[in-house]
Symmetry: C2
Subunit: 456 residues, 2 copies
């Protein structure tokens, strides 16, 4: 641990500089005009890993954004860790809510601020720098491979195929990912479950042009009114999604396991206060933690239609749109859900409008067993740094590619996340505490050490 | 009629030039940055009326946009006609749907194209040019006053007070307005009823910031889902508005009058085809014409919230907004309705969100009796030009200031509109057929003639 701490102390400013360089690249994967930035980010990662000590590094083309792959094979008989991270980030809208430029990172109040500070440039950088430390101090106990992709925030549409095509190269004993959060800075936790995701854009068309709401209002179906009604019909008064078959494949979690999950520290009042709401909401019969951990959800992520400018324009619009997503639990297949939603949404549309449903992306959920060596190595590493045994938790978030790794490569993933809920990932003012960043760099080499020992 | 036709023939190109000059001014009253354009338009109208032959013209300040007033008093013993029009226009969004620049008017396919071509620069110009013709040919049989305001499209918030302050100056025997449509180019009609209007912006706030839809989805109320549900609750499955008390003041129209209104030619198939919908919708128990003519309506004019950009962003947004309007029938008071809606909307909000309702504008409905001399003069004037007696109709649209004129000035208004449904007012590609424009200029002097005769 002393070696680690000394190395970090001597190099911390450079680590931050390297992270800031990465964060300045506007690698927003969901916006086409940022395509050149994806290549910049891929090249940045390649150089970064080469300087950190890999034997070789390469930028691979896919049908979408590039993947940076690198490796250091010290001994074929030693276990191999495959590190996965992503170089792409979410859009920055609403930009006016950022206190500082999302792509001009800075440190203030003990935190790194900017898009990607946590998700996942900050957390990805911890792995590069932990690896560098082990190489430079001669303490690397495993072979290491890095796979940094550029489409995680849009559902990794091309990485599965790329993995298929590079199965041999990617062979490893475990995949290590830091792209999740801990319960709090005092309560380390390891995410053992992820929700799946299905996401659609819907378009409701009424009349062929915007109409005068006086001359036509009351006689012609208004696509916004209709869309609102259709969305309202998707969830019943008990908070259950009404799509027929939606819950068919949801695994019932045993009361023992629910009891265990319920032990994770959780304050409803603190949770409500943090987001400033008077009441929580959700599916009847489940706690807040269960609602995000073991139950699927239905959210409209965006809606628009008609006149949205200043003042009052009286119009009966031609079209209304929404971006709709469901989070799915393990065993729910996103492709089946995607079809079920599409059919249902088209079915409940009244004859007075036309609807179009476009699936945008999706992915399966994932569960990590807590009795495998990699999980136990992670547990010990956190315990050393945080002085507490980490709690296993089911996260509400989705990293669709994790289940694909298992399907395609046959490798389990351990989710060693160091984010905090207050990091505001996907939101304005994303941030990442310096302490978590450096604790991550300390914890990762301990994982390698214990994993190598346990794999003997 | 020959004098009229000859004068139009000799001056038609100039008439169009003068209209185009007015249409090039971007006098959008609902967008603050166009305030200077309102003054440009007011000055343009002043010069136009002076050149058309008024004795005096003046631009008056109000607390909002200016009013251009002008008059020509030829003999205090003769009847006086007060012409009302508005110089302001609607916004041009969605701008990408316009085939040509909305503020660079042009003639093609026998129509004038551009914002304001009909509503109300085109229809207002007919009055200026009909007046000019009467002055220049020595055939003006009445005193004439012009009042051109700049806030009609935002509900004329300041004109009522301005009228109060200038009651003496505005005294007249009738108010003449061209700001409505005819049934079709072959079927002249005069609007005898207008709906009232109440309009609100609503804001629904859930969490204090955009949240990750995975980490929080299912446990925190999504303001878009909630807004959709609240909007859906405003209208029941029979198409009735559910706000308690909403229909209390709606006058029941007698079966005789409904029968009479039902005689106006109407083809459901043609109506559906024109707007390209498979089915119409609306309040149970009423025909399409009744739904817009004698019944109130509830329309969402705009909605927005969350991520509306390209691709898939998974977010549980902090806020959702909508612009909501109701069209009201005579005897429904918009201020009472405005309060009823606000209370109801706030009441049905779940405790998991906060809502804010801002009334944006409103106005009362209006009915014009068909047995007054001014209506009968208009009827004869249309009959001369179109060869058919015009049909009295109740329009679904609103011109809130019309009922204010009656309240404040004690003067009835005759709505001599020459628009057509295909003019796409308030929409992209607004247009106005040249034939209607010139027919208007022909019909108006005949109204003056018959009105002067009947008033003797």
């Amino acid at each position: 641990m002393e070696t680690i701490n000394n190395y970090i102390e001597a190099n911390k400013d450079r680590f931050l500089d390297e992270l800031f360089g990465l964060m300045r690249i506007q690698s927003i994967s969901s916006i086409k005009e940022h395509k050149p930035d994806m290549y910049k980010a891929a090249k940045y990662w390649k150089e970064l890993l080469l300087e950190s000590g890999v034997d070789k590094a390469e930028v691979f083309e896919t049908e979408g954004n590039p993947v940076t792959y690198a490796e250091k094979i010290i001994n074929p008989d030693l276990p191999t860790v495959l590190v996965y991270s992503h170089m792409d980030v979410m859009p920055v809208d609403p930009i006016e809510k950022w206190d500082t430029d999302p792509f001009e990172p800075q440190v203030r109040e003990g935190k790194i601020w900017g898009r990607g500070a946590d998700d996942d440039k900050g957390q990805g950088m911890m792995h590069a720098k932990a690896f560098e430390m082990m190489v430079k101090t001669g303490t690397l106990p495993c072979n290491v491979k890095f796979m940094i992709e550029g489409e995680e925030e849009i559902g990794s549409p091309n990485l599965g195929k790329w993995c298929e095509n590079h199965k041999e190269m990617l062979q490893a004993d475990v995949i290590l990912v830091s792209d999740t959060a801990m319960i709090s800075a005092d309560t380390p936790s390891i995410t053992t479950g992820l929700r799946g995701l299905a996401y659609w854009q819907v378009e409701v068309t009424g009349p062929n042009r915007d109409l005068h709401s006086g001359l036509f209002g009351g006689a012609v179906a208004n696509p916004i009114n209709v869309l609102c009604s259709m969305i309202d019909q998707m969830v019943d008064e008990k908070g259950k999604v009404t799509i027929p078959g939606f819950y068919d494949d949801v695994l019932t979690v045993s009361s023992e396991e629910r009891e265990l999950l319920g032990r994770a520290p959780f304050s409803k009042e603190a949770y409500k206060k943090a987001i400033d709401v008077d009441e929580l909401a959700g599916e009847e019969g489940f706690t807040t933690t269960e609602r995000t951990g073991i139950r699927p959800s239905f959210d409209v992520c965006g809606i628009w239609g008609g006149y949205t400018g200043e003042g009052a324009k009286t119009v009966l619009p031609s079209k209304a749109f929404a971006k709709i997503s469901t989070r799915l639990v393990p065993n729910q297949d996103y492709q089946i859900i995607s079809e079920l939603f599409k059919n249902y949404f088209e079915n409940i549309a009244p004859a007075s409008v036309k609807v179009e449903v476009t699936p945008l992306h999706g992915g399966q959920g994932y569960v990590c067993p807590i009795d495998i060596p990699a999980y136990q190595a992670a547990e010990k590493a956190y315990s050393d740094v945080y002085g507490k045994r980490p709690v296993p938790v089911r996260s509400g978030g989705s990293i669709p590619i994790i289940s694909t790794f298992e399907e395609v490569l046959g490798i389990k993933t351990v989710l060693m996340g160091f984010g905090l809920e207050s990091d505001a990932i996907h939101s304005p003012n994303e941030n990442y505490p310096l302490e978590q960043f450096f604790n991550g760099i300390k914890t990762i080499p301990l994982f390698y050490k214990y994993f190598a020992e346990m794999s003997k």
